[in-house]
Symmetry: C2
Subunit: 190 residues, 2 copies
């Protein structure tokens, strides 16, 4: 039996220079979301993946720890939603699976998490989650968000994770609508 | 802002020779689970990760498509549960995010999925899920399984995924118990 033993994924090449040119500070959740939404737009414009992006921010220093965009179709891996990419790259940068060891880290995502990403948040060690668009916006654009517990926000809160939804939600949702209108691939397995 | 742009993970080196020596056929769910349980035991014995393993099987040919073990602590990534590793390596082997394109594939896991892995199953394109130990076994060993919808089995079934729980459950649960007794690391973020 010969099998594959190694898996890897990579951010699109445009992201590093894009971040290098970014001048807006990351002091407020709106400013952080502004960066995430800009990344999601650029990911669509460059055709490097789906209309979702996320960033991990150090809440103490306001520094960007990691960025992620949805690269499911381009990486050929169903798990590489923006949140999973950002969390995994943050853990790669900080050299450990538990981001709580590195201070107070925040995950800022352009969309409410799908069932998988909801489950991934507590395992990562982030202390807060900020979302832009809602499940309805993602579903209106044709994406399947999966089945989360109905009380998913309080589930995270019970685990000590602060949740803030609806930040720049219109901007974030607009990227989803435009992706759908442009004929972007909707990659639900069936 | 300098960030990490690439993430990778790798199976422990012992897995390829271990699979090379494996002679039990993979025709039934019990035989497939037998392999998964053996991988979870060996992962504990070699101290290369947590007491969980999973395999992806082609149900038409009975061939092993991919294997995964929990490598959270050794890879330093919170998402690399056994199921995520096996699904991602299957997609790497088959060169695409949707395993449904490659036939009728089955995910066989030594334990009921946690909240994240539950959410990941429908995105992967597998047609069935076979589990060994239950949530209670994992929690009894100290692991946090997260909050899944109460009707998680019917949630998967509604999406056309066949679910079979409790296969060789005593063997699978025994690995969890022994891991706990041996003082194995319980890696819940807090």
């Amino acid at each position: 039996m010969t099998i594959r033993t190694r898996c890897s994924f990579e951010l699109p090449a445009w992201i590093e220079p894009f971040l290098g040119d970014w001048t807006v500070p990351l002091a407020t959740v709106s400013q952080r979301m502004q960066l995430a939404v800009a990344l999601s737009e650029e990911n669509v414009r460059r055709q490097t993946g789906g209309p979702f992006a996320a960033v991990v921010i150090n809440e103490t220093t306001d520094e960007l720890v990691a960025a992620g965009v949805n690269i499911v179709t381009t990486a050929g891996l169903s798990v590489v939603h923006a949140e999973i990419v950002a969390l995994s790259l943050a853990q790669t940068a900080l050299n450990g699976w538990n981001l709580a060891d590195a201070g107070t880290l925040q995950l800022v995502s352009t969309c409410e998490p799908c069932a998988m990403c909801f489950g991934a948040v507590p395992w990562s060690g982030v202390k807060s989650l900020v979302c832009g668009a809602g499940k309805r916006d993602a579903e209106a654009a044709g994406f399947d968000e999966g089945d989360k517990p109905h009380d998913w926000v309080s589930s995270l809160q019970r685990r000590g994770i602060v949740v803030q939804c609806g930040v720049l939600s219109e901007h974030a949702a607009d990227v989803l609508v435009r992706y759908r209108k442009s004929g972007g691939m909707i990659y639900n397995a069936d």
